[in-house]
């Protein structure tokens, strides 16, 4: 057993110490130890992106890394985006544009979208679609997801997580 200590969702009070088996994946740590179940496990093979979280400000697939690889890092999950009860502008845009149907891919889709606008605030539609290639949605056909990203972009809202 090893100790994992990370800052999750920016709050020092949530800095977590837990004894985990070294083979524990980051997503298992987030969901099962921290009980933050917004981060989803879809394919479990790094294809679908439902498990996307930010580690030190970079989107990563939490099903394809160990919790111990995140030792000492700042991790942001979907639960960490809303501030003071108000949705993150990207979450609000997904809500307004109905950028989801079943909602399973949405947490990862939002995390990747926040990253994409942080990297490329003026992303074209083509660039948005390319930047979301690591996130699969089986319901929407992606159109409303792209619209949501564009709406967030047009709002000029800061996209930093």
């Amino acid at each position: 057993m090893s100790t994992v200590s990370t800052a999750v969702n920016g709050k020092s009070v949530e800095a977590v110490q837990a004894d985990v088996d070294p083979r524990t994946l980051l997503v298992e740590f987030i969901r099962e130890h921290l009980r933050l179940t917004g981060t989803h496990v879809g394919c479990d093979t790094a294809q679908c992106g439902a498990c996307t979280v930010h580690m030190n400000g970079r989107a990563v697939k939490s099903c394809s890394m160990l919790a111990l690889q995140a030792q000492g890092a700042d991790v942001t999950t979907i639960e960490g985006l809303a501030k003071d009860g108000a949705l993150h502008p990207m979450q609000a845009a997904f809500h307004e544009c109905h950028g989801l149907q079943c909602g399973f891919c949405t947490p990862g889709m939002v995390m990747s979208s926040v990253q994409l606008l942080a990297d490329n605030p003026k992303a074209t539609e083509q660039e948005i679609r390319e930047a979301l290639e690591g996130n699969l949605c089986r319901c929407t056909g992606y159109h409303n997801i792209v619209k949501a990203v564009q709406q967030c972009q047009a709002g000029g809202v800061p996209a930093n997580a």
Partner: protein
């Protein structure tokens, strides 16, 4: 995943010491291949030695035409590096099409070439750029480094520290990605180093991993144009065959990707 132990190396020395102590240790960098492989129980190292935080393995240096990339540099860092893009945009473009954005934030150039997946992108770049692979023990020319599918010249416990190459006059990489995995079904990297030194390296298509296509190199040295490679003979017997494409299909892809790469290099 089978049980394992995790160690974070603080230096190259530390990494070597940890490896020696481990029963069946494996170095991990981004882990974007190793972790999925362990999850499928196709690999079961007793110990993982994480190299991502070793300072000596980080950083990008460009001095004149000489480019040095630390082994623990991520694909995202290569893709967006201002200095490399000025001298060798082809490798930045290649890095920007590996996997997807989240994979590129973790995966590293050292990990990619140490693994030598027959469909990985970087091995083709290393061969075509005539790169030198630096390890903690020696320097190895790319031509001698890649030994076939998932095989390299690395000895047990040897660690890649950096790759170094001289930027070519012009170069480009063109790949046909598998639509699901995004691994290359065929990727061709062409580089013109001047004075008749042309290199063409193919990944994803060969049945023994990355290889140089000498006939195409000769044809391009005489006439740098897409037409020059259009009729090049690609031996179907040397090609991979799987559910995604048979030998003939891949042989044709090699020609098509080579044409596109030459056209893109201009």
């Amino acid at each position: 995943m089978y049980s394992t132990n995790y160690h974070r190396a603080s230096s190259l020395k530390d990494a070597q010491a940890l490896f020696k102590k481990a029963g069946d240790g494996k170095f991990v960098s981004g882990g974007q291949t190793l972790l999925p492989t362990m999850k499928q129980r196709l690999a079961a190292p007793s110990d993982l030695i994480d190299l991502r935080h070793v300072k000596d393995l980080k950083g990008i240096k460009v001095s004149g035409k000489k480019v040095t990339i630390g082994a623990a540099t991520t694909h995202a860092e290569v893709a967006t590096n201002d200095k490399i893009v000025k001298v060798c945009p082809a490798i930045c473009s290649l890095a920007s099409h590996i996997g997807d954005p989240a994979v590129r934030h973790m995966g590293t150039i050292g990990g990619s070439i140490a693994n030598n997946d027959p469909a990985a992108d970087y091995p083709a770049a290393m061969m075509a750029l005539g790169a030198t692979i630096h390890t903690n023990k020696r320097q190895i020319a790319a031509d001698k480094f890649f030994k076939g599918m998932f095989e390299t010249a690395l000895k047990d416990g040897e660690i890649i520290t950096a790759v170094e190459f001289s930027a070519p006059k012009k170069a480009a990489y063109s790949k046909y990605p598998n639509p699901a995995s995004r691994y290359a079904m065929c990727g061709v990297f062409v580089a013109d180093h001047g004075k008749g030194d042309v290199r063409v390296a193919v990944t994803g298509a060969g049945n023994d991993g990355v290889f140089r296509h000498k006939a195409m190199e000769k044809a391009l040295a005489a006439d740098w144009s897409p037409e020059a490679v259009a009729s090049a003979k690609v031996n179907e017997g040397d090609m991979l065959s799987d559910i995604h494409g048979n030998e003939a299909y891949r042989a044709n892809l090699v020609r098509v990707m080579a044409k596109r790469a030459v056209a893109a290099a201009g």
